[in-house]
Structure formats: C-alpha cells, structure tokens
C-alpha cells in the first residue's frame, strides 16, 4: 500500500522507523483481538459452564431423548380451539383488550410434562394448558399453565439442578436418591412445596383440572394503576378424583377422554385473576398467596374443538409466557425471562426438524367423534 507510486502522504514527513511500524502493527493486532475477545466474551465463549438456554434445552434432550420436531418439554399433547368471553371485570385491572367485554378466538394445547412425546398417560403426571388469545383488534396474549397449585422450585437454576438430580442413574435406571436428597437439603423451599403438592387432589382428567399460571405478573389499567397478579383457569366441569391404584392400561387414556368429552359438549373454564397484596411474593412460585386474596372472574374459556398436532395451529405456536399485550407485564419472577429464553431455544430447534406423527393421531381424534 505505502509503496503505491503516487503516495504523497508520507512525502513531507520522515518515514516511520521499522521498530515503530512493528509496534503500530502490534497495537492494531491488540485492538482487533480485544474487539473479537469482547464479542466472544459476551457470547459466553469463555464461560462454557454457565447455565444457558441451550444447555437447559440440552438437559431436556439428555433426559428424555431427542425427539425431532417435538417440544423439548410438554412434548405430548393435542391442539384445541374455541373462544374466550370476557365479562369486562378484568378491565379495572388491565387495559388489555382481552379483558373488555366481548369474544376473543383462542387456540390452545393440552399437554403432559416431560420431553417424551410418546410417554404413557399417568394420573399424576403434570398436565399443561397453553393458550393463545387473539383479539381481532388487539394484541395477542399467550400463557402456559399447569395443574399444580405451586411450583416445585423457586429459580430456573434450581429447576435445572433438580432436573439433573432426578436423571435416572444409568446403572439402576432409577434416579439416585442421594442426589435428590442433597438437592432437597439445599432447597428447603422445594421440600416445603412438595408437602403442599403431596396433599393435592388430582382430578380424573384434563377437563376437570385447574390450571395455574403460577408466575406472578403485573397488570396495568387505563388509569395507569399497576397490580401484582397471578391467574388460574378453574374448570366448570365438576371435580372427580383420579382413580388411585394400578396404572391405566391405555397409554392415551387422558387424551382419549378429553377428545370424547370435548366432542360431547364444549368444555369451559373460568379465568380467575388473583390480586396480590403488598408483601405477597411475586418472585417465588413455590409459595401460594393467602387464600383470602381477592379473586376476580374475568371471563369464560370455551373449548369446542380438538385436533391432533398434525393439523392444529397450536403446533406452530410457542406459548412463550412473555408474549403479553399492553396492560400486562412480567413481575420480578426470574422464571419468566428464563422460560422465554428456553422456550425460544426449544421452539427454534423443533421448527427446523421433520416431526414424525404425534402420539395422539388424527385417527384418534376422529375415533372420538
């Protein structure tokens, strides 16, 4: 470059000395290396042991295997759709359009926890319900709820630790109780939540399950008042206890029953918003809020259609709990951002894979009609 025949720039000045040039080239090298290093540092290249969304997702795959095209958690499920009829009671809490009086189309998905899409239905396997509310003239709201009244862990890190601790030992095929006990010793809140969960009544099916959002959020109404809230879906279908005893023979009995019931008559839930008071924990889903907290029934969910994952719109939806309309915002619960990050990773992986048929097939859905 500097040997270009017309070079005028250096002509008036003394030529840089050789050693000076080497130092300057070295300086440039240092600057560029620092820039690349900063980029790599931010991208986590020097901290491979950090818990990242990718490592979280890997853990699901490690425990339940890689099932291409399926969700890495809550892998087994069916799609549903229907409507939500808001009664207007929610408007005093949140300006979100879904809470105005009126009807909003809903797409959802019932699921069982775990990364195995062909797992056998069991009464006490955690059941999930993901919902997307799409008001025609408002913003989309998504939520993913489960049928537990409290969550077993308080932080994403504890979730991961517990997941790893409950991984079956290759030697015995069973989780190592020593690891689990060590985990519980470090996490008394999990032991505490386990007591609550042990005594919980388990319902007979999806249709009479109560689904809890668990994580706290903040609602803001049109006057700008902000309220900490949690929400749940309480079934209009009467409670019936799950039959205790031997494992059911039908591997899809929960889904088959859901299909049959929804085809007989639409299933309904009330969306109940629980209003938190100052001092109620918003960053600890292992703790229920006191029973006497005000609960507002803000509308009715009606699900009248069930579909297998092969045709359901729910398959293409990431029920990211932070897809929120204006009027709803995350609380300080560390779960929310972490869930959003891990769901995104799981969604991205499955989106690029060919999915084999789901456990609950279109034929199963047809049979239930």
């Amino acid at each position: 470059m500097s040997t270009h025949p017309n070079a005028p720039a250096g002509a008036g000045r003394p030529r840089p000395r050789y050693a000076g040039t080497v130092a300057r080239v070295g300086l440039i090298g240092v600057i560029l290396a620092a820039l690349a290093g900063a980029f790599a540092y931010l991208g986590g290249w020097f901290t491979p042991d950090d818990l990242t969304p990718a490592r979280f997702t890997d853990a699901f795959e490690q425990i339940d295997g890689v099932h291409p095209g399926f969700r890495r958690n809550h892998a087994k499920g069916v799609g549903v759709s229907g409507v939500f009829d808001g009664n207007g009671q929610g408007a005093r809490l949140s300006k979100a359009v879904v809470f105005r009086p009126g009807r909003v189309p809903v797409v959802g998905r019932f699921s069982l926890t775990g990364g195995d899409p062909y797992v056998a239905d069991m009464p006490d396997t955690v059941r999930g319900l993901g919902l997307q509310f799409s008001p025609p003239d408002g913003e989309t709201w998504r939520t993913a709820m489960i049928n537990l009244p409290v969550f077993p862990v308080r932080t994403p890190e504890a979730f991961y630790e517990r997941m790893v601790a409950s991984e079956p030992d290759p030697a015995t095929g069973k989780p190592d109780p020593a690891r689990m006990n060590a985990f519980l010793a470090r996490h008394p809140e999990t032991a505490q939540a386990a007591l609550v969960l042990k005594g919980r009544p388990v319902s007979s099916g999806f249709e009479n399950s109560t689904f809890h959002g668990l994580n706290a959020f903040r609602f803001t109404n049109s006057a700008g008042d902000s309220t900490p809230v949690r929400w749940l879906m309480t079934p209009a279908q009467p409670f019936e206890a799950a039959t205790a005893g031997a494992a059911p023979r039908d591997k899809k009995y929960l889904f088959d029953a859901l299909i049959a019931k929804i085809n007989r008559q639409p299933l309904r839930w009330h969306l109940v918003v629980v209003i938190g008071q100052p001092g109620d924990p918003t960053a600890d889903a292992t703790m229920a809020w006191p029973d006497e907290r005000e609960k507002v029934d803000v509308g009715t969910l009606t699900l009248d259609r069930v579909e297998s994952e092969e045709t359901s719109a729910a398959t293409g939806i990431n029920f990211d709990p932070l897809v929120l309309p204006a009027g709803m915002a995350p609380s300080d619960d560390p779960f929310l951002s972490a869930r959003s990050a891990v769901y995104s990773r799981s969604f991205t992986r499955r989106a690029g894979e060919m999915k084999p048929p789901s456990a609950v097939t279109p034929a199963d859905v047809e049979k239930g009609k």
């Binding site: 470059m1 500097s2 270009h4 025949p5 017309n6 070079a7 005028p8 720039a9 250096g10 002509a11 008036g12 000045r13 840089p16 040039t21 300057r24 080239v25 300086l27 440039i28 600057i31 560029l32 820039l35 690349a36 900063a38 980029f39 931010l42 991208g43 986590g44 950090d50 818990l51 990242t52 969304p53 990718a54 979280f56 913003e139 989309t140 994403p156 293409g316 939806i317 990431n318 990211d320 932070l322 897809v323 204006a326 995350p330 560390p334 929310l336 951002s337 972490a338 959003s340 990050a341 891990v342 995104s344 969604f347 991205t348 499955r350 989106a351 690029g352």
Partner: protein, 194 residues
C-alpha cells in the same frame, strides 16, 4: 452536495450517520450474542434488540440514499486499485448486511408468528406466512449474517487502523466526527525515484 472544503472528508451528515450507526450496530451485535446465552436478561435484551434493529433498518435506507447523493471523497493516493475495490466491496457488504439483518429479524419473527413488539403501542405487521421451516432457516441466516457483519467490521476497522497508524495517511480523518482542515497541497512525487 459536498463543498470543496469537504472533499477530503465525508459530509457532516455522512459522518453523523456513520458514527451513530456504528454505535448502534455494535450494540446490536453485543446484545444479540449476549441475549441468546442469557436466562435472566433474555427478555429485557430482546425487548431492546427488536426496536434498535428496526431503527437500523430505517437509518440504513436513509444512509444509502445519502451515500448516492453525497459520494465519498476521492480515495487517498495511498490506496492502490485493488485496495480501493476491496474497501468499496467491504463498505457495500456492510450496507447490505445492515439492511438484510434487521429485515430477516422481522421476517423470521413473522414466520414464527411472534408478535413483533416495539416500545409503546408500536407493532410491526407480519411480512411472511406462518411457516416453521422458514422460521428455522431465517433464524440460522440471522446468526450467520450477524457473524459475517462482525467479521466485516473487524476487517474494516483493521484496514482503517493500518492506514491511520502504519501508512499514516490520515485516513481516519475522512470520517472523524469533527471538521478537519484540508491537508497541505500534495508535494509533487519525487522525480529521481527509481
């Protein structure tokens, strides 16, 4: 539009755009690689990543129009033909990437049917059909192009620094935010040079 005193420097608007966007693009690259490895800050960072990226998309269009209206000052004589070509190619690669990356970001969120939320009441419409495979391909492309933009940026800064510090032709002055006096008229080349 460049006046004769500015012929050795990019116009004020060009320089303003260059440094504003350099800061934005570097922030975006940093936020991008940070958020995908973060649990606690993922949501906060994505919430900045989307609108900042969209701002880059708008600014790069403005900047491209400005570039056509206000061509760069002539290359210094310290640059050979091949180097000028390479520099121009790198600059247009950066233009291309600053346009493509946010557009792909928008497109991939459209294909995945994520609401594309900007601050306040602003939302972007979907520009692609709901298609998971399309989303996956665009998501991968977004990563590859972002890394490519980072590499081009490193090359760009490396080349500017080599000129400024090693060749010492005052190359950086072409783009520094402040006004620089024009250089002394160039001396005639040494006639006795072999």
């Amino acid at each position: 539009m460049s006046t004769s005193t500015e012929r050795h420097q990019f116009t004020t608007l060009s320089r303003l755009l260059h440094w504003t966007m350099a800061a934005m693009v570097l922030t975006m690259l940093g936020i991008g690689v940070t958020m995908v490895v973060s649990l606690a800050n993922y949501h906060a960072l994505v919430s900045v990543h989307r609108p900042l990226g969209v701002a880059i998309l708008i600014l790069v269009v403005v900047r491209f129009v400005n570039r056509v209206l206000n061509p760069p000052p002539p290359w210094p004589a310290t640059m050979g033909r091949a180097e000028r070509l390479a520099a121009t190619a790198a600059e247009f690669t950066m233009y291309g990437l600053m346009f493509a990356l946010p557009l792909i970001g928008w497109g991939m969120l459209s294909a995945a049917r994520y609401p594309i939320v900007l601050p306040g009441p602003l939302r972007l419409p979907y520009i692609l059909p709901h298609d998971l495979m399309l989303y996956a391909a665009l998501r991968k492309t977004h990563t590859i192009l972002a890394y490519l933009l980072f590499l081009t940026f490193i090359t760009h800064v490396g080349a500017v620094l080599v000129h400024t510090l090693v060749v010492r032709d005052g190359f950086l002055k072409r783009m520094v935010p402040w006004k620089v006096r024009p250089p002394e008229p160039a001396l005639p080349t040494d006639p006795v040079r072999p």
